[in-house]
């Protein structure tokens, strides 16, 4: 389950990942635009179509099950890390909206787990390995295979961490389970990516992404640093959340406590708790007022958005 569906993540985790992914996407768009200029739109559009088409091809994994390529490292090696990140993000948005593959509330998490781990961190690993081992076709293929495999494991670990922090299961357990499942899923991903990059490097090495001559080391550093930065920011934010929110195991107990409180409240309608609540009429008024306020808020936001759009188009 590389794509996290709706209903698994808690509100704080969903919000944190959405905001982080949004900021990263804005930065990536800037980087890709500067690098590709007016070639950006057609290049990225066709790369998106290619990854979409490639993901439709299933290959056998084990015991009759089949999987498909994620392709983050492959697209980054051909089109560059920032372009690859944007392509993977576009693919994830289309999958969530059109095919209900991956949730809309989990979109931020899925973008970080799949697009950032694959195209940014994966490309950083690939670049570092080729810088160390040289860039013959075979070495590039091996570096890409290793990068694709490692980034798939990272995808699983990140998803496991997010699920754990959401209180779905104890963090250690979900982290271990997801990482080990992806250590298996990552094998075909690594093999296919490695063979494809090897074939490309042999036949048309000129088409593979070349870091700009002026900043040969700089871009590698930037990609690796960006990946590490995202991981660090996420780890920091999530650890704050984790210390504020109870740990998975305690969380379950509290949920159970909630359940008990709710049932005892129903069983004893004349308890002190009940007497403290306002009467039925008061509750009704509060509900009506609350809904009116909400309606006003949503309407105001909608109007502001429409006005901003009109201003932009006009």
């Amino acid at each position: 389950m590389a794509h996290i569906p709706d209903g698994f993540l808690s509100a704080p985790v969903a919000a944190t990942t959405l905001v982080t992914a949004g900021a990263l996407t804005a930065y990536a768009a800037k980087r890709a635009q500067t690098r590709l200029d007016d070639r950006a739109a057609p290049t990225l559009g066709l790369a998106t179509a290619a990854i979409f088409a490639a993901q439709a091809v299933n290959f056998p994994v084990a015991a009759g099950t089949s999987g498909h390529l994620l392709g983050g490292v492959l697209v980054a090696v051909v089109f560059g890390p920032w372009a690859g990140y944007l392509v993977m993000t576009a693919v994830l948005i289309a999958q969530a909206l059109l095919f209900a593959d991956g949730g809309l509330t989990a979109l931020g998490a899925n973008v970080l787990n799949i697009a950032a781990a694959g195209a940014l961190v994966g490309y950083g690993i690939y670049r570092t390995l080729t810088a160390l081992a040289g860039d013959g076709a075979r070495r590039r293929g091996l570096a890409a295979a290793a990068a694709a495999y490692l980034s798939a494991v990272l995808t699983g670990a990140a998803a496991g961490l997010e699920l754990g922090l959401s209180g779905v299961a104890p963090t250690g357990l979900s982290l271990g389970a997801m990482a080990s499942v992806h250590a298996l899923i990552g094998l075909p991903e690594g093999v296919i990516t490695g063979l494809a990059v090897w074939a490309l490097a042999r036949k048309r090495a000129d088409l593979l992404f070349q870091p700009q001559a002026a900043s040969t080391g700089g871009l590698t550093g930037a990609a690796v640093l960006a990946g590490l930065g995202v991981v660090a920011i996420l780890a920091g934010l999530l650890s704050i959340l984790a210390s504020a929110a109870p740990d998975g195991l305690e969380r379950v107990a509290i949920d159970l406590g909630f359940a008990e409180a709710a049932s005892s409240w129903e069983a004893a309608p004349f308890s002190d708790y009940q007497a403290w609540l306002p009467g039925t009429a008061g509750t009704l008024v509060a509900i009506v007022l609350g809904i009116a306020l909400l309606f006003a808020g949503v309407a105001a936001t909608a109007r502001a958005l429409a006005r901003a759009r009109a201003a932009r188009n006009g």
């Binding site: 569906p5 209903g7 091809v57 697209v75 209900a100 809309l104 490309l200 359940a259 909608a302």
Partner: protein, 256 residues
């Protein structure tokens, strides 16, 4: 391959499609996914209310129940399988014991809750998206605060995915007919070469489109002839408010 099957119910007149534009429906889909997906654990009554709203929405969209069920069922394995692991992995008192397997009570509750939330979110999004054409939906994405490059990637990706998919199928067919009884390693290599080939084609096609765009005076973004809608956003605002209210009710339900 095509998106035609996605647009099968898009042109049916219905209460929902008459009163909302594709762009407004996108906001409703987002609202529903957030209300269902982020419903706090333990808010059973709010979840039930949300299920009622989604069912009502499916009715107003005039979607055949079978079609809706088929589309939702397609997404169910994605969340059912991981949810099924929870009763076995979340610690707690066992509710059911089957030989060596102990299904813990908190695990069962959690799994039921997650499956309910996920089913509701998927159903709501499926209802709203089913009555909207994929092309309209993509142009409605303009309203979202996404970088222009992501939007143009989605639009061009939608336009060219058929072209590249045909290429992939043709290459794949040619390879299969030549491979015969080739060993497994050879087959994997063939798969990889097919993928490399498609990426190459994407590269070449992209440069051709770029040249064509320049020769036609391309300057940032795609000009569209989308008529401005005069439809009032009243119903959209009402539906999103209702969804937000149910989500807040869920928050209140678990905190008292």
């Amino acid at each position: 391959m095509g998106f035609a099957h996605l647009d099968r119910y898009a042109d049916r007149p219905s209460w929902l499609s008459r009163r909302t534009t594709p762009e407004q429906r996108l906001w409703i889909a987002l609202g529903a996914a957030f209300a269902a997906g982020l419903m706090p654990p333990g808010a059973w009554r709010a979840l039930a209310a949300l299920a009622l709203i989604v069912a009502l929405g499916a009715w107003t969209a005039r979607l055949p129940a079978g079609a809706l069920a088929r589309r939702v069922a397609h997404a169910i394995p994605f969340f059912l399988l991981p949810a099924l692991a929870l009763p076995l992995s979340v610690p707690g008192p066992a509710a059911v014991e089957l030989g060596p397997l102990a299904f813990s009570e908190p695990g069962l509750t959690k799994a039921a809750e997650i499956v309910l939330r996920a089913t509701l979110a998927v159903s709501a999004v499926t209802v709203v998206i089913s009555v909207t054409r994929a092309a309209d939906l993509l142009s409605a994405l303009d309203a979202l605060p996404l970088p222009r490059l992501v939007k143009s990637s989605l639009a061009l990706g939608y336009r060219y995915v058929y072209v590249l998919n045909d290429e992939l199928e043709r290459t794949g067919r040619a390879l299969r007919s030549r491979l015969g009884r080739a060993p497994v390693s050879r087959r994997w290599q063939a798969r990889a070469v097919t993928l490399a080939h498609v990426l190459l084609r994407a590269h070449v096609r992209g440069s051709r489109i770029h040249a064509a765009m320049l020769s036609r005076g391309y300057r940032d973004g795609f000009p569209t002839l989308r008529p401005a809608s005069t439809l009032s956003p009243f119903w959209t605002v009402a539906i999103v408010t209702l969804l937000a209210a149910v989500w807040l009710a869920g928050l209140i339900e678990v905190s008292i």
